[in-house]
């Protein structure tokens, strides 16, 4: 089990490397924000410990609720903010197709 996980870990590293090899500077900010949202996956870890009742004691449960809240902020906030940024790149030309033609002089 451990070795399988280790294999998955190494392979995922290469996948991440391959996917990001060439990104235009324009997209660095949204990309950073997008990958940021993806590591919000830690929320799954906190939920897992709660839902399988692996943690006992009040302090442990409080810590996990905080962890779930943190994870939620990471996930929801991250994806929302990335979406807002990317929407702005979507607004596309059409309007300025006419602009370069009006050079009859003033």
């Amino acid at each position: 089990m451990f070795l399988t996980n280790l294999a998955v870990l190494v392979l995922a590293g290469f996948v991440g490397y391959a996917v990001i090899s060439k990104v235009p500077t324009t997209l660095h900010t949204p990309l950073m924000s997008g990958t940021n949202a993806i590591h919000g996956i830690v929320i799954v870890g906190a939920m897992l410990l709660l839902v399988t009742d692996a943690a006992h004691g009040v302090l442990s449960k409080i810590l996990l609720v905080v962890a779930v809240a943190f994870g939620t902020i990471n996930v929801v906030g991250g994806f929302l903010v990335t979406d807002r940024m990317l929407e702005m790149f979507k607004a596309k030309p059409s309007a300025e197709a006419t602009r370069p033609d009006d050079d009859e002089g003033s």
Partner: protein, 473 residues
């Protein structure tokens, strides 16, 4: 029978995790192109939803109310923040979202320690991964918090150091973290050890980011982002969860590359950034300096210069965005467009506060995408540019980066604005830029300065332009 259902449940969960990380990888590959990016982000979000549903699909779920409580708190804090944040404040928002993710990792490791009585009867490799995740998550949380505070101006953006003690203290803290971890792996079960480990990591996170200057912050946020990814992957190994391993690791790997690309765009090595002190050497490097003569101009002067130019290149900087001047600028450039003046925007790779940040800000003001020109394409055009108009940018046009080896900016690729026929600078005051160094462009004889709030200045220039254009020839 019961074993049977539990098994199929576990298989379903594993299958859903595979679906979820496939969606992450597919979505992430979409994020690397402008056309597929919006969809890519949403696909990744769908992957997250699948992973969460899979996790909650348990034969005998406990603590569902506590989970709902955590999610509700997270939504209540995260959603309004994400909706309201201004595009100019994006870097610090990303920093804080990253930080809480790291915090969650650290808390999970702590709870694992508690719930197994100090990793009693847990195999060593699991303990090692969990103890890797804990300090990295904590460093990421506190480092990101400091990055947030600096970008939000809650702390000064300049490097804050504690002098010579800095390096030995950091080393001592790192040694303390490792010592606690080794003791726990060796079989010590005292909770004081893990608490000490977390505290030492927290202090280390604060101390590592404090001396880093504001201009380097994007690289710091990006590297902390990669670290949180790695910590999440380690947590995944400790919890035997494929989804965490894959998602964490692809963020760790892609984040590392992104960090290197950003650092390359700024011509900074990651080690020299972490070593800190960017902008801190300005007092030891006297330059052509603030003693030079500054020519100031009125909005009407600026309007005349612009109206009779053939080509105007605008260099927008964070100062423009900070005073929300991009809309006023767009109004002005519409007039210039109508008056047959060729307008282009020179985009430095690190304009704004993160690579690509300026493109977001200009897209928000509906500046035509074709008018945005990247640094390497615009630089050869400056000699035949009549007016270079600098709006709230500073360090990215500092010629000292080309010619003065003493300057802390030396070596950073810049926009060759000093080669333009004339230069107009819209600036609030003579204050130096974010890196805290002087800029000889301001005292250049062909430079005129229009002081004041960028938006108000642009409004007055637009007004003056209107009068010029409509006046009978």
């Amino acid at each position: 029978m019961i074993v049977g259902t539990a098994l199929t449940g576990a298989t379903t969960r594993e299958l859903l995790y595979i679906v979820s990380f496939s969606l992450f990888i597919y979505g992430l590959s979409g994020l690397t192109g402008p056309k597929t990016a919006v969809r890519g982000n949403r696909i990744a979000a769908a992957g997250m939803a699948v992973a969460i549903i899979a996790t909650l699909l348990q034969p005998d779920p406990s603590n569902m109310w506590l989970i709902a409580l955590g999610v509700a708190i997270g939504v209540a804090l995260g959603v309004p923040a994400a909706r309201r944040v201004k595009m100019t404040q994006m870097p610090q928002m990303v920093a804080i979202f990253n930080g809480v993710g790291g915090g969650a990792v650290a808390l999970i490791s702590w709870v694992e320690f508690r719930s197994t009585d100090g990793f009693a009867a847990v195999s060593t490799h699991i303990v090692v991964f969990s103890l890797f995740a804990a300090p990295i998550g904590m460093i990421s949380f506190w480092g990101s918090t400091i990055a947030f505070a600096k970008l939000q101006d809650l702390l000064p953006g300049r490097p804050l150091t504690i002098g010579r003690l800095q390096t030995p203290l950091n080393a001592a803290l790192a040694a303390a973290v490792v010592a606690c971890a080794v003791a726990i792996v060796a079989g010590a079960h005292s909770e004081a050890l893990i608490v000490a480990l977390l505290i030492a990591s927290a202090v280390l996170g604060v101390l590592v980011v404090l001396p880093i200057g504001g201009a380097d912050m994007p690289v710091v946020i990006s590297s902390l982002n990669a670290l949180t990814g790695l910590a999440a992957a380690a947590t995944g190994v400790a919890l035997d969860n494929t989804s965490l391993i894959v998602a964490g690791m692809i963020v760790g790997a892609s984040g590392t590359i992104l960090t290197r690309q950003m650092a390359a765009a700024m011509n900074r090595s990651i080690t020299s950034i972490i070593a800190g002190g960017f902008g801190g050497t300005s007092e030891s490097a006297p330059m052509t300096g603030p003693g030079g003569i500054v020519h100031s101009a009125s909005p009407a002067d600026v309007a005349i210069q612009l109206a009779y130019a053939r080509q105007v290149v605008i260099v927008p900087g964070f100062g423009m965005a900070a005073s929300q001047a991009q809309y006023a600028m767009r109004e002005m450039t519409k007039l210039l467009d109508a008056n047959d003046v060729q307008v282009k925007y020179a985009i430095h790779p690190v304009a704004g506060r993160m690579p690509g940040h300026m493109n977001v800000l200009l897209a928000e003001a509906e500046v035509p995408y074709e008018q945005l020109v990247e640094m390497n394409d615009i630089n050869p055009e400056f000699p035949r540019t009549d007016v270079a108009l600098l709006i709230g940018a500073n360090d990215v046009v500092n010629p000292d980066a080309r010619s003065n080896p003493q300057s802390p900016l030396y070596g950073m690729p810049i926009l060759d604005i000093d080669k333009a026929q004339s230069i107009i600078v819209l600036k609030r005051s003579m204050r130096p830029g974010y890196a805290g160094v002087d800029n000889p462009v301001f005292t250049d004889p062909k430079t005129s300065m229009l002081f004041g709030d960028a938006r108000e200045s642009l409004d007055s220039v637009t007004q003056a332009l209107k009068e010029l254009v409509t006046a009978p020839a």
